[in-house]
Structures are given as C-alpha cells and as structure tokens.
Amino acid sequence: MGVVQTDQMVLNIGPQHPSTHGVLRLEVMTDGEIVSQIKPHLGYLHRCFEKHSENVTYEQVIPFTDRCDYLASMNSNFGYVVTMEELMEIKVSDRVEYIRVIMGELNRIASHLLALGVYGLDIGAFTPFLYMLRDRERILDMFEYTCGARLLYNYMWVGGVSHDLPKDFEKICIGFLDYFEPQIEEYNNLLTYNKIFIERTADVGVIPADVAISYGVSGPNLRGSGVNWDVRKDEPYSIYDRFEFDVPIGEGKFGTLGDCFDRYWVRMLEIKESVRILRQALKDLPSGDVHQALPKKIRPPKGSIYRRTESPRGDLGYYIISDGSPIPSRVKMRSPAFTALSCLDEVSKGWMISDVIAILGSLDIVLGEIDR
C-alpha cells in the first residue's frame, strides 16, 4: 500500500461566524479536525478611535471610549477619567469615587455574566446564556435608571460623574444583590459542574504563566494561569484600597493550571468578589456633590501619562499626551482583549476546531476593543 497523500486545509473562521464574538477572521490551518496554525486577521471593526481622539476635546473622547469596549463602558470611562485626573491632578470627592466604584463593579458583573453566558453558548449550552442575560438586564436597568443609557453611558466625567445617583438607588442595588447571589449557585449547578462542560474545558488550551506574561495577557486570563496580579490590588487607583476583597486565581480545579476552565472559574469567582465590593461600597456611600470638582475647561498641563486600570477583560491602559491645548495630542488605548487574542495561535496549536472555539470563548475578547 502506498502512503496516502494528505494536505493541510485552510479553514476560514469568520468574519461572519456565530462564535467569533464580533467580526474576527481566523485563518486556520487544519489537518482533519486538528488545528496546526491560526492567523488572526483584525481590523474589520476599526473605527479610528485614536485618530478621532486627536480631533476632539478631552471630554468628547469619553463617548468614544464607551464604544471601544461596549460590554464594559463604565470601566472604559473609569480608566480614562482616572488617567485624566492623574494628569490634571484633580481630587474628586468621596461620593464620586464611591459612585464610580459601584458603577464599575456593576459593569464588571454585567460583562462577566455575558462572557460566561456566551462561553456556555460556544460550548453548546443555550439555557445558561439566557439566564445570565436575564440578570445582566437588571444591571442595565439600574444603569438606565442612573444615567439614561443602557449600553454606552458616557457617565463618568473628568472630575465627577454626569448624574448623581437617583432616588433609592442603594436600596434597589442591595435588593438586586440579594436576588443575584443565589443565582450564581444556579449557574454553577446548571453549567459549571456539568460533566460535559468540565470535559470540554478542563485541560484544554493551557496558557502557562510565563507564556501568559510574555504575551501580555492580563486580567482574568492571567489570573487563570495562576499569576496573582490585579491592578485594583497591586496598583490601587480610585479608592480600591479601601475595600476588602480577594483576588481569585486559577488553581487547576479540574485539570491543568491555566486551562479554559480556570479562566472561566476565575470570572465566576470575580463576580462574587464584585458583589462583596459592592456591598461595602453601598454601606459606606457618603453624601456630597458630584459636580464639585468638574473643571471649567479641561486643559491639562503639558506632559504625558500612562495609567492602567482593571477592566473586566484585564489591564486597560491609557496613554495620554497633552500639549497644553484642549485637544489631546495623542490618546492610546492599550486594550486587554488585543493582547489576549495575540496568544491564540500559540495556545490552540494541536487542538481541535471545537477546542479553538472553546479557547477563543474563554479568552473573552471584545472585537470593538481589539480593533478600536
């Protein structure tokens, strides 16, 4: 018998594909089901955020930051305003800080809920996705109650927030948390502990810690690899140093350290930590004026600053260069999903097509943020 001649096949996943989380195109070299190389092609969603920013004033950049990471707009805003305030040396009132933390953590829960739900969808479980979206909807309702918008808020301003909290917000938020906490257990029972789910995710797509650091992977993906790094804890910004919370890191619960399950599980635990922070913040929420520190005109001194904050996807960095005019000279956004996607090729070599989808889902990328 002669040797059967086989050849590798190029498979195009995307730009229109159900589970690329946006318009991402993956050029996958496959040998049967086994993947040997992945070339991601980006840019289908490029909206020139950085070029735009050089043509609008500092406060007008904020609506554009919303649209980069549209699943965690509050955190995008948060990062930008924290950076700007550090550049301009503005001290905002305690109430503003607390409101920002509350909004940021609520948005983190919302973002993680979507990430986890969509991950279930990638694996094939439809129902948990809708349960999680159902609860995310309540968070969006609270945002709408506060600032009128459900997805793209433009809520945090340099030196303050656009609106004070509405009537009874604390009560509503506590009510939501009381409702929400038992739901986490239901998600776990329905999806996390499901044996099929564990089989699909455990041991799959292992990112070792050194590879993760070298690829600049950050946030829950990095913590899933067992690296204890959380900007909120290690480089505290805003008032995160006042709260008590743990940084969950992956421990290889059902398989190897740094596999898809660990990344999933870290997100699930982070939701619980966010609930903890929220409860503390709501308890201590001081009163005050939220517009007190708003500068009349945003005209930062000449200089540059790089500041990173913890968005639900990881280290969200802003590099802002000011030349003294009211229009920024350069705004660079270091997006966490961009770095997370870059390691896809290395991680998914040798896995099957189904696993590539699982790995891609576990990295929790948002194409709006990658392409900016």
């Binding site: 609506p63 919303d66 918008a149 509503i172 939501f176 499901n194």
Partner: protein
Amino acid sequence: MYKYFTNIYETVNTLWTGMRITFRHMIHIKRDNVTLQYPEERWPRPERNIGFDHKDYNVIRSRLHVDIDDCIGCLKCERVCPVDCITINTIKTPTRGEDISEVNHTGETSNGTKKAMVVSRFTIDMSECCYCNLCVYPCPEECIFMVGGPNSSKHPIDYEFSQFDRKDLIYQFAKKLTPDQKKKLESPKPEVEA
C-alpha cells in the same frame, strides 16, 4: 476501573442536577417569565425587574428635542457634539430682544434672556447622534434635551422613532424662513430708536 465508574456516576449526577433546574424553570414559567411582548407591552414597565418608576429617572436618553423659542443661538451644543450631528445657522437680529412677527420669532426666552439671533437653521441628524448627552449640559437656556424622563411633562418618551429614509432622520427645529425673509433679515436695516 474505580475512576471509570465514578466518572459515569458524576456525569449522570451533574446532568440530572442541570435537568432539574431547567425543569423547575419550565413549570414556573408564569412566575419567571421575563419576556416583554413588545408591541402590546411597552417599556417602561415599572414592575418589571427591579421595580422603579420612570418618573424617578435622572434622565432618559431617547430623542433630542429643542424648544426653539428658547434657543438663543449660542452654538454651544454644536461645538460640544463629538460627532457633529448638530448644525445651527443664525442671523443677527436688528434689535436685541424684540419679537419679529413675520418670521414668528420671539424676542425673549422663557427665562427672560433677550435673544440677539434668529436661528435660521437648527438640524439634528439623529442617525448620527450617539446619545452621549453632552449637548444637554452646556445649554444656558436648557432648551435642548432628551425627551422623556424628568422632562416627561413636556414631551412623552420617544425611543422608537424610525423612518424609511435616512434623510428623514434629520430633524429640523428652526422655524422655516423663505429666501425673501432671510434676505430681509440679513440686510442691514437703518436702526430707528424710539
């Protein structure tokens, strides 16, 4: 061998747990249902989810509206718009704060500010609007706002406006001027002080 059977046991057990949850949701659909039957039931539905009244909202971002009689043509909203969807043209009035009846222009705003401009064009391209709410804040007369919310007494919430043609989404708020009227306004008039 032991692992083989514990694996099977775990599988059956966890799958059964999941099935119990979905079944529980299925039989309690009356209680758990979250669907909003859109054309029949409309947002806001205060009893839904958390249970707040839309009257308590800080703001509702639906459609921009301008009370043109209050507009003094200061162009602040045009300048602050990050996507340039607001376009305003103004013509200087001969006398500040005086009604010009032929173009239906009122001289004073409801706050009592005397107007120095006739707004000959005030268009908002709602297909470009990004609902950032930035134009609402700088307005000195509070004449541009998102309908609904705290302003609901003036205008009902309109969040489902849609048009067949993209051009129709360019809303214009200024009162129409014929070319003749325009010319008349633009031409310098000999001022007669009484």
